[in-house]
């Protein structure tokens, strides 16, 4: 392998990991909702779109940096998620309908409403937040003169990735160290047993939906400095997080992180070696392969190692 080829490969792997970290954050929101509610939230990408527009508005009007908007968008989406769950999804869950999973269809509707509201308010133009550090990057040769290969690290990508890691770590702390986090996991694992332990399951559903929305809203703010935005952008991210959730194993947080990294790496490799336009194709190749070869997702592989089944 020549130096250039090595450079391209390393660079591809790095951008794959950076992208994967962000994907993982998006999918974490979907997977914790999936775990507790046993439904796929198909409005997930649209909630991310809301987060992105919040960052966009705050940037264009008040010149607030998108990374700071995380602290505004996440609480806002938390409340929005709570409202959606409490006043739309919970009532529908109690109704006996012909379709067993009618809440899923409801989430499709919520997504459509959000996307169309965004179109009315912002028009369907592509928009960006042109941050000053948008094209800044760090180069390996600046720090190590005689390095055989030169690798660059884009500043906004790195900052977004780091923040995604911090948020993920915070989520991990919440889920494993606090009683409320444990109650959420317990509800996901055995609803009746959680009830018997004194967990208000309905409240956990509401909190979880809020938390999942807050996570994806934060992801939206992290994405906007490196991406662009238009009202229908949500659908593509719903699909991405759906693929990751399947790949990782429904409801598994560790699975979502690993799945996100796998998808990020795979898309990045496809984009470099097959062609930019093929990245989404790569995504669905992974999706189908996961369904055929590891139907339980990465989580099932981890579990079989731990439980020896």
């Amino acid at each position: 392998m020549t130096a250039i080829q090595t450079e391209v490969l390393l660079q591809t792997l790095i951008s794959g990991v950076l992208l994967g970290g962000l994907y993982a954050l998006i999918a974490l929101g979907m997977t914790i909702i999936m775990g507790v509610m046993k439904i796929i939230n198909l409005a997930h990408g649209e909630l991310m779109m809301v987060g992105m527009y919040i960052a966009f508005v705050l940037f264009s009007w008040l010149h607030i940096d998108p990374y700071l908007s995380v602290f505004i968008a996440a609480p806002f989406l938390f409340l929005l998620g709570i409202g959606l769950q409490k006043y739309l999804i919970n009532p529908v869950m109690k109704v006996d309908s012909i379709l067993p999973e009618n809440q899923v269809i409801l989430t499709v509707g919520i997504g459509m409403v959000l996307a169309n509201l965004a179109t009315i308010i912002f028009q369907s133009d592509y928009r960006q937040t042109p941050v000053s550090y948008g094209t800044k990057a760090w180069y390996l040769r600046d720090y190590w003169k005689d390095s055989p290969v030169d690798i660059s690290l884009s500043m906004p990508w790195t900052v977004s990735f780091t923040m995604a890691l911090l948020i993920t770590a915070g989520l991990w702390f919440f889920l494993t160290k606090t009683d409320m986090g444990k109650s959420i996991r317990a509800t996901a694992q055995d609803l009746d047993a959680a009830l018997l332990m004194g967990v208000n399951v309905e409240r956990m559903r509401v909190v979880t939906f809020g938390l999942g929305s807050a996570l994806v809203g934060a992801a939206g703010c992290l994405f906007i400095p490196i991406y662009y935005i238009y009202p229908d952008i949500g659908g593509q991210f719903t699909l991405i997080s759906f693929v990751i959730t399947i790949l990782g194993g429904l409801g598994s947080t560790v699975g979502a992180i690993i799945g996100g990294l796998i998808l990020g790496l795979f898309e990045s490799l496809t984009a470099t070696y097959v062609g930019m336009g093929w990245a989404p194709v790569g995504r669905f190749v992974i999706f189908v392969a996961a369904l055929i070869f590891i139907p339980g997702g990465v989580a099932s592989l981890l579990r079989s190692r731990k439980f020896g089944k």
Binding site: K182, A186, Q189, L196, M197, G198, V199, N200
Partner: protein, 234 residues
């Protein structure tokens, strides 16, 4: 302490409990025994709040549980070790125990109670960091009982604690239940293992097809010809 007054319970349109009444007094071990499908577990699920009676009333220390949600019953001092353990399998032993003490007084005294539980089941202390799903059946039952004790209950209810356990473990579990009662917790137990249950029960009720057909002290029932023929194979 616990009074069940003429309850009827349905699964959908099918009635499975017909006008059952019984009571549990402070400090007793009371058993509900019967064959498969007699309605024992259903009765216990109704007491715990997972099912609602269509008719009748359940009183705990004099207050009606009719409007008390399942997740509030633990606050009143009722704890439940459900059938087939129902542990949180992807959580560690210690996290499972923590789940038993989420509220109020039990939360304050969590570490203290945990020490007591580990004293009762030293094996759990060794395995405190292990995932509950990786434990053997007997150890899982210990976690389930420990989790129930963590809420510092006044009344601890067991649904088939001997299910799927080797005879030696069954004895161990029954010894522990006796010990729990001696320490002042009232026990309501549902079992198919009639002989051993009656041996530790102060009083018992025999359920058949959703009705109470007989009641008496443990020793009375053990020597009853009908119980002997139907449940002990003598």
């Amino acid at each position: 302490m616990l009074e069940i007054r003429n309850i009827d319970v349905y699964y959908g349109d099918v009635q499975v409990i017909w006008d059952i009444s019984f009571d549990v007094k402070q400090g007793e071990v009371v058993a509900l025994i019967g064959a498969n499908g007699a309605g024992k577990s259903t009765t216990l699920k109704t007491v715990s709040g997972l099912l609602k009676p269509k008719k009748g009333e359940i009183l705990f220390n004099g207050t009606s549980l009719h409007t008390v949600e399942a997740y509030h019953r633990i606050d009143l001092g009722m704890a439940f070790c459900p059938e087939a353990r129902r542990l949180f399998v992807d959580m560690t032993v210690e996290e499972n125990l923590d789940m038993g003490s989420l509220r109020g007084d039990a939360k304050q005294k969590r570490e203290q109670t945990k020490k007591m539980v580990f004293g009762l089941f030293p094996r759990l202390k060794e395995r405190r960091k292990q995932l509950a799903g990786t434990l053997s059946g007997g150890e899982q039952q210990m976690v389930a009982i420990g989790r129930g004790l963590m809420s510092l209950p006044k009344l601890l209810m067991f649904d088939e604690p001997s299910l799927g356990l080797a005879p030696i473990l069954v004895r161990e579990i029954f010894d522990v239940i006796r010990k729990i009662q001696k320490e002042g917790t009232t026990v309501l137990i549902v079992e198919q293992n009639v002989k051993q249950t009656l041996a530790i029960a102060d009083r018992a009720y025999v359920l058949e097809t959703g009705k109470v057909v007989m009641q008496g002290t443990g020793t009375q029932l053990l020597s009853d010809p009908h119980v002997k023929a139907a449940y002990l194979g003598l």
